[in-house]
Subunit: 436 residues, 2 copies
């Protein structure tokens, strides 16, 4: 595709090729007010500055809405709807393409280039959305099975409802942070001896701190309360996708979660990657999800059976002493339910979604029993019974203080055409010592 060659220097292995154009919120030392940008190669393109300098002169349709690029979140841009995201992304691609029809906008305008192209190393990324509600699903069938076996044995591992509906729960929106934000180990109630007959909890720093490999999807289109989003229209509600680490305190979770689900075990922090890859950019990487051997109800039936994404996912762990290991490699195709199905289910009651709401996919684990395909340490360590090897003789059952977890994800294999997410990074800080 010749339009995807650029006059601008984009490293061949960049996640942010011209085929991508992910959106985020940046600030810089020189201009500390958060604002909208896209990432291209090793640079952010400051769309606030671009707009102020008439960069969208050839795209009249966006002009009445240009204040969206000065906002400190993507909520307003997202709310313009997918057709607008499509034309804005295409326009930016065309401005950067080698044979751009608009050479005077940026290609031949060194002064504007100097103003709007900021090396990513000089950029501070912020949370891309002001997140109203966050819902976490559980669509990773292999993860659900692996965890179910641990808690209920293999025959009862998958609950009767699991293949009929995308199981999900409301999560905590306020503690979602952008990649790079440290995560403090939580304190809480844990059972030191879960097998003891008398259950008496102890107050303790979490001893079973875990990561969870997930995707997050941002909603762009609000639906009115009382009016469901039909499955066929659900893709219109989908702005884009990020990588997500749903940090989990497994010992807190085991004690607290009956009967109303996870609460404190998940509410201390969730990390997302800063650049939101638009649904449009992911379109070429749609694929079939896991086969569902159950006859699902019509409101969840998609016309298109290619509805999840083939994103190559990887988790790396670096310890305080600098030893590293790639602990997980899998694909985002290992989901039983797609984001459109989650949207249709979420709203079938009339629940209203809003621009900036976040949906988590659930933890993604591969189809084999290989430790290296599992998306959480709970699974990799079989509930703490086995170890995961790191370099330098180190090993892990769960996360230790100083551990840094990096999730990365990328679609496609053609250099110069990669559609990637960059990284989603979080480092564990020691728990607070509290006195009462």
């Amino acid at each position: 595709m010749s339009t995807l060659r650029s006059w601008f220097s984009i490293p061949r292995d960049s996640h942010f090729s011209l085929a991508n154009i992910p959106f985020g919120i940046i600030s810089t030392a020189a201009s500390p007010t958060p604002r909208v940008a896209v990432a291209i190669g090793d640079h952010a393109v400051d769309l606030d500055a671009f707009t102020a300098n008439n960069g969208f002169q050839a795209l009249s349709i966006i002009q009445p809405h240009q204040t969206v690029f000065s906002q400190p979140s993507l909520n307003a841009f997202a709310a313009l709807g997918r057709p607008m995201h499509t034309v804005v992304r295409k326009y930016i691609q065309s401005v950067f393409s080698a044979d751009t029809p608009y050479p005077d906008v940026l290609k031949n305008n060194a002064s504007l280039q100097a103003q709007v192209l900021v090396p990513l190393e000089h950029v501070t990324s912020h949370l891309p959305f002001k997140i109203g509600d966050y819902t976490d699903f559980y669509a990773g069938l292999h993860h659900a099975y692996n965890c179910g076996v641990m808690f209920r044995g293999s025959s009862g591992a998958i609950q009767p409802n699991y293949k009929y509906l995308p199981v999900g729960y409301h999560g905590r929106a306020s503690s979602i942070v952008v990649s790079g934000t440290p995560i403090r180990r939580p304190n809480g109630q844990v059972l030191l001896d879960p097998s003891a007959e008398k259950k008496i909890p102890t107050f303790s720093p979490c001893r079973m701190l875990d990561m969870e490999l997930e995707l997050g999807a941002f909603i762009c289109k609000a639906n009115t309360q009382g009016e469901p989003v039909a499955i066929g229209e659900a893709p219109d509600s989908l702005f884009g996708v990020v990588l997500m680490n749903d940090w989990s305190a497994r010992d807190v979770q085991a004690w607290e979660y009956v009967p109303l689900g996870p609460f404190n075990s998940k509410n201390f922090g969730t990390t997302i990657s800063p650049w939101v890859v638009l649904a449009d950019a992911l379109e070429p990487f749609k694929t079939q999800g896991l086969e569902n051997d159950t006859e699902i109800l019509p409101y969840l039936q998609e016309k298109d059976n290619k509805s999840v994404y083939d994103i190559q996912l990887q988790v790396d762990l670096k310890t305080q002493s600098g030893n590293t290991a790639t602990i997980t490699k899998t694909s985002a195709r290992h989901l039983l339910w797609s984001f459109p199905q989650m949207i249709a289910h979420h709203t079938i009651t009339g629940c209203n979604l809003q621009s900036g709401d976040l949906l988590g996919s659930g933890t993604i684990s591969g189809s084999t029993t290989a430790q290296s395909e599992m998306g959480s340490l709970l699974e990799q360590s079989a509930g703490g019974k086995k170890t995961v090897k790191i370099a330098g003789g180190e090993e892990r059952r769960f996360l230790e203080d100083g551990d840094e977890v990096t999730i990365s994800g990328v679609c496609g294999g053609d250099e110069g055409m990669l559609v990637g997410f960059g990284t989603c990074v979080g480092k564990i800080e020691p728990a607070l010592t509290l006195s009462f």
Copy 2:
């Protein structure tokens, strides 16, 4: 208390006596922009207009912050902190008191009275806060026991964790609505025969639609992520309290809730009363909650054992044909955990609360097995097995289309000194007929 006599006509049986001064968000036909008000007797006091006319002239401490009263939510006013709420409430009480030291502000100023005093019947009430996150607890021990018996029998009714921590879960913030907003019966997946061996769900309008009698507490003080709120400081985070109806689709809930808790069964709507009664106004009505026979961990131990509120609660049901019944009478004292304990638990992991977050108490039922003390129809009908008598020969197991549920609540018995919440009303609309 002579300061609580007013020069202004306040009905003796009003919930909004001078001892109360609840805050809300109003608009009127003449002035449709939502803004802050307080309720006194049968009137709202428009604090935006009051401010614009120099009504706070004698309260210099609020003057730098007066724009909070022009906001469409209480978030900014709440974020000023409890000491500021205290002085503003006291000032308004003094302006309205019979022997006001500021007679020229309002008492002798007919022109300002005409501007700021709006009969409540001319007022449209709005959601008082822009709610970031909503957490629903489960602190009504009798309700938890009654439900537990139904699902697990009496010996396993109360889970081992229940008396050690305030069990809670994240709820859906976007679908919280103000009193008077109709509630549409949700559609969803239900098991028509839950006892069948093979569990195959049917798509159906909810057949077991229920109300839940709860209190809601609004947070005023944000804590930094990673930094818990100590139990002794938790009352400083508490702005005030509303009545809450946590509508619940019991058949949807029974099928979906394993293993991650209620989701679609609760996400279609939650109704709150419009006037937020400040924590200060409720202070005289603090009382001991239910005794906890368990040794709780220090981070949940309150110095003051009077930490729940003695609010007389009542639920009335009016059918489409106009028949009515008072179906519940109980007190908000029937809670095992107080709001400060919920705050301390919620944040012990470092979870950050924000101004405008809402905490639900959990359903409140009385201590006896009397149907008329139970805070949900699930309990009153013993899971649909018994009926609840309404007038005119009508009866209910669960809510029918056209049913209107009204929760009311009031503290104190002295006429002219009542501290009440007004009402929290919702009427059931028929489910949408969907075709696929």
